[in-house]
């Protein structure tokens, strides 16, 4: 199964890697999770020959989820501060991809995308990241740009030592930040409880030109309580609670910061493995509540104070099963969720009445869908995959005051609006020889317009300086996706090249509406979300993973995307060609690693979006690690220099050309027990 797509399985150490070995023995069926036919970056506990890859993705145990995501082939992060970066895949924005946490839908509560769901999950809590571009891309929901599922760690049962855990801490000089992580697992043969916490405290960082970048500070505390109960030999019940609290978060590229961002995520999961061990069925009930509040009280140039809180509550459930039927591997999934999103803005002019409006007017969204996939091993060298998803969606504005507000634009929102989405994908993989393989895939996909795109009310976008208004009549984007892969895989070298092309009909973009007057003082005008006839996204990725000497590993990935609209204009927020490479030398307890990140300039810009040319850059990092004490009670030290040559740079997806951190010295330690 996993051989079907290039299963970029990269093993990454997480805290407490020691306890999993024991747990895996008796908890065998769990490892089947990884056999999901998605392109998967597995963050597992075992240390093996892929250890270099792990180091590539994780500088140390306190590395953030965003740092890891940024290194995945095809993923680029939109950055507005040093917190809450938003993932994009192959030029598809966060609204065009499907983002789930352990299969759960979760929507940020910020109208300005300051709280992507990925910001609520820490790596200490992450088992794997499932990134799917084409096949499998609609397993967790309809999307045109693929899906990203963050698979959460589980509490471990244990037949040996009951109590295990780890602690880790790191210091970053550039932002005077500390990151602390701890994790404890208590396991018996019948049940396991896992408590983990991460506390981060970062100050403002200095850019490469030594200037202090104000409003890049943040503080956060993430606490998780996971539990797992063995109901029978093959069935388990999990009850998980994740809490994440961020506060005093600077967003240097935006006119406002964040006072707090709170996430409360609850889930119950039942999982039962069938006799042959490779089949299972799973059901989950979940609920998550996000509260977010923007803050302008620390900004000097505020002529009118504003409060901008937002709420997003999601309830959902899914049931899925995977099983084999002769040469077919079948996946069935049915899921549904209900989300309500509300965001307010209150402005306080001096000596006058407060002004209040709903920037998200109590939007209720109900979506239910069915996914079916068949992976058919037609011949030894040929595998075919068909998958399809159908979703029913229902939108309604829950409050009369919300509906009244939308009527100002002459939209009729008295009744719920409905949409039906369909997704198909088929692919063919064949092994050309024992080492060479190739695959092609083609599909049709569609996605729902996001809350902003349908119901946003005078949302100021500081990127282009326009107020944005939603369009309740926005059509669903639909895409034709095609991808070609060729690869070579031997015991020492793994090379893959993929090329993709996406034709997107009804591409959603803000179009200037000159008949509307701006709401935000200083805004350049008003844009309303509308559908372009079409747009296209094409590009390629190259990945290389080579053992060039018994002690030296080389890993590199190259990504490129080219986007244009129907008139040939460049689409905004397209990352230029970027190459990330790592070479690592390791000898028993020591390792030394060199990272190189190289990006070309982006000169294809979208002037309507106020995009500016971004210069190319190259930065280098040096990382070292020393295992003081190996084994189960490992103690490890890490130290390194990031942006060694103190380059002054920003990436194309960084808002307002916000400078990235300059030279950073870091040191970290971790210990397991």
């Amino acid at each position: 199964m996993k051989s079907f797509v290039k299963a970029a399985k990269i093993l990454v150490l997480v805290n407490g890697f020691c306890l999993s070995l024991a747990a895996q023995q008796m908890d065998k069926p769990d490892s089947l999770d990884k056999h999901c036919h998605l392109k998967e970056i597995a963050v597992t506990a075992s240390a093996d020959s892929s250890n270099a890859l792990l180091k590539f993705y994780k500088a140390n145990k306190t590395t953030s989820t965003e740092d890891i995501l940024a290194r995945l082939p095809g993923v680029n992060m939109v950055r507005r501060g040093s917190y809450g970066m938003e993932p994009t895949i192959r030029g598809f924005s966060s609204s065009q991809i499907n983002l789930t946490l352990d299969g759960m839908k979760i929507f940020g509560a910020c109208t300005d995308h300051m709280d992507p769901p990925t910001s609520y999950i820490e790596t200490s809590n992450l088992q794997s990241i499932q990134l799917a571009n084409s096949e499998g891309g609609s397993m967790f929901g309809s999307s045109i740009g693929g899906s990203l599922n963050l698979k959460l760690a589980e509490a471990k049962l244990s037949s040996e030592k009951k109590l295990r855990g780890s602690v880790g801490s790191s210091y970053y000089s550039v932002s005077n930040s500390t990151n602390n992580v701890m994790q404890v697992n208590y396991g018996t043969p019948k049940m396991g409880i896992r408590l983990s916490g991460v506390y981060r405290n970062a100050g403002n960082y200095r850019a490469g030109n030594r200037t202090l970048i104000p409003f890049t500070q943040y503080e956060k505390f993430n606490l998780n309580l996971l539990s797992k109960f063995k109901l029978s030999q093959r069935s388990f019940l999990r009850a998980d609670v994740i809490t994440d609290d961020g506060w005093n978060i600077g967003y240097a590229a935006l006119p406002m910061d964040v006072a707090f961002a709170k996430a409360r995520i609850f889930s119950f999961t039942y999982k039962s493995y069938l006799k042959n061990g490779s089949s299972y069925w799973e059901a989950k009930l979940y609920k998550n509540k996000i509260k977010h509040s923007m803050d302008d009280t620390h900004r000097a140039d505020v002529n009118m104070h504003m409060d901008m809180p937002g709420w997003s509550d999601t309830y959902g459930a899914y049931a899925e099963t995977m099983f084999n039927l002769k040469k077919h591997h079948i996946t069935l999934r049915t899921d549904g969720y209900k989300n309500t999103s509300r965001a307010e803005m209150t402005m306080y002019p001096e000596n006058s009445s407060p002004m209040f409006m709903l920037t998200w007017p109590d939007v209720r969204r109900f979506v239910a869908g069915l996914y079916i996939s068949d992976e058919w091993r037609a011949k030894d060298a040929v595998t075919l995959n068909f998958s399809t998803r159908i979703d029913y969606a229902n939108f309604f504005i829950n409050s009369e005051s919300g509906r009244e507000q939308v009527r100002v634009f002459n939209f009729n929102v008295d009744k719920p609006s409905e949409k039906v989405l369909t997704n198909f994908n088929s692919s063919l993989r064949f092994n050309l020889s024992r080492l060479f393989y190739s695959s092609i895939s083609a599909g049709y996909s569609s996605r729902l317009p996001a809350t902003n795109e349908m119901f946003g009310f005078y949302l100021f976008n500081s990127f282009d300086g326009f107020d944005y208004i939603g369009n309740p009549e926005a059509k669903s984007e639909r895409a034709l996706n095609a991808e070609v892969n060729v690869g070579y895989k031997s015991s020492k070298i793994d090379i893959n090249a993929s090329g993709f092309y996406n034709h997107i009909a009804d591409y959603l973009i803000g179009e200037t509406n000159s008949s509307l007057s701006v709401m935000t003082p200083g805004a350049k005008g008003v844009k309303q979300w509308s559908n372009l006839p079409y747009a296209s996204l094409k590009g390629f990725e190259l990945t290389l993973n080579a053992l060039i000497h018994k002690r030296i590993t080389l890993i590199s990935n190259t990504r490129y995307v080219y986007g244009q609209d129907n008139s040939g204009k460049a689409l905004p927020m397209m990352s230029p060609l970027k190459i990330i490479s790592t070479a690592r030398y390791s000898k028993s307890k020591y390792s030394i690693q060199w990272d190189n990140e190289c990006s070309l300039a982006q000169k294809r810009i979208n002037v309507d979006m106020n995009e500016m040319v971004t210069k190319g850059f190259m930065i280098n990092n040096l990382r070292t690690s020393y295992i003081v004490k190996p084994g189960r009670n490992a103690v490890e030290l890490n130290a390194g220099i990031e942006n060694m040559f103190n380059r002054n740079y920003s990436e194309h997806l960084d808002w307002a050309k916000l400078l990235r951190p300059g030279r950073n010295f870091y040191a970290a330690f971790s210990a397991a027990f």
Binding site: M355, S517, P521
Partner: protein
């Protein structure tokens, strides 16, 4: 003597009870909750006149409901010609002066649910002895053809925002009285907007100004922005103009008015109503 005192007390108490009752009473036959404002007698018509309104009288446009009773039998008069005229009596430097204000007489000689709906525009608040409002109600009882007039003192206070504007024409210095009718309870969203415009021919005569063209431009002075898709008020009848005003948020709004005459000549474009909610 003792019995007389008892009588006196009884009568006083009875009167107190009756008057109390009457003051708090809402008209039994009206369907909406109305407040009794004042009452008086139209002597020649042998009629008792009671005035009702939805709230206490405020400067600006007020709907006034007139109930008329036969002053002898006490029975309600449902058919009659009722005319209404607000009069302000002022003392200016010791000299008594008076003027009127725009008003609207009941459209029909038949009462609706026992009441004759009318309206009056008060252009200023009452101010003690130096400025008193009266409502002159002329009653012609259709059953006996008797006619008389009641002059009923009323008290008018200022609302939170001015609801009546005096606009002096740039064309001929003629004065227009522009009264705000709707929205009474403004909300974020689409609101019905209605105004009444009267022409002041002299201090006592205010005929409705028909056939003007009216444009509205709502604006938030604290933000400097407006709102989209407003519908300019158009002439309905008797000086009434109706349109739609859109508010995109709560707070202080100014509804700017541009008035033009029937030939398209600008009368004035600097008058505005303030709306805060």
């Amino acid at each position: 003597m003792k019995t007389l005192t008892l009588y006196a007390i009884a009568i006083t108490m009875a009167m107190a009870v009756i008057s109390c009752k009457k003051n708090d009473q809402t008209d039994p036959e009206s369907k909406t909750e109305l407040l009794k404002i004042a009452n008086g007698y139209a002597l020649g018509a042998a009629a008792k006149v009671e005035l009702y309104a939805k709230t206490d009288l405020k400067t600006g446009f007020n709907e006034i409901y007139v109930a008329v009773f036969d002053s002898i039998s006490g029975s309600r008069i449902n058919s009659g010609e009722i005319a209404l005229k607000p009069i302000m009596q002022m003392l200016m430097n010791g000299a008594a002066m008076s003027h009127s204000a725009p008003s609207e007489n009941p459209e029909s000689a038949q009462a609706i649910n026992g009441l004759f709906p009318a309206a009056a525009v008060f252009t200023m608040p009452s101010s003690g002895e130096s400025g008193k409002w009266f409502i002159e109600v002329t009653v012609k009882n259709n059953t006996n053809n008797k006619q008389g007039k009641a002059s009923i003192p009323v008290s008018v206070s200022d609302g939170t925002e001015p609801r009546v504007l005096t606009v002096t024409s740039l064309i001929n210095s003629e004065k227009y009285i522009v009264s705000y009718i709707e929205p009474i309870t403004p909300k974020v969203g689409v609101n019905d907007f209605e105004i009444l415009i009267n022409r002041k021919t002299d201090g006592m005569t205010y005929p409705p100004a028909n056939n003007l063209s009216v444009q509205i431009t709502p604006e938030m002075p604290d933000m400097g922005h407006g709102s989209p898709n407003n519908i300019n008020p158009v002439f309905i009848k008797n000086g009434h103009y109706k349109g739609k005003v859109n508010f995109t948020m709560t707070g202080l709004w100014e509804i700017n008015l541009t008035l033009k005459d029937e030939t398209g000549q600008l009368i004035r474009n600097d008058a505005f109503f303030k709306v805060t909610f």
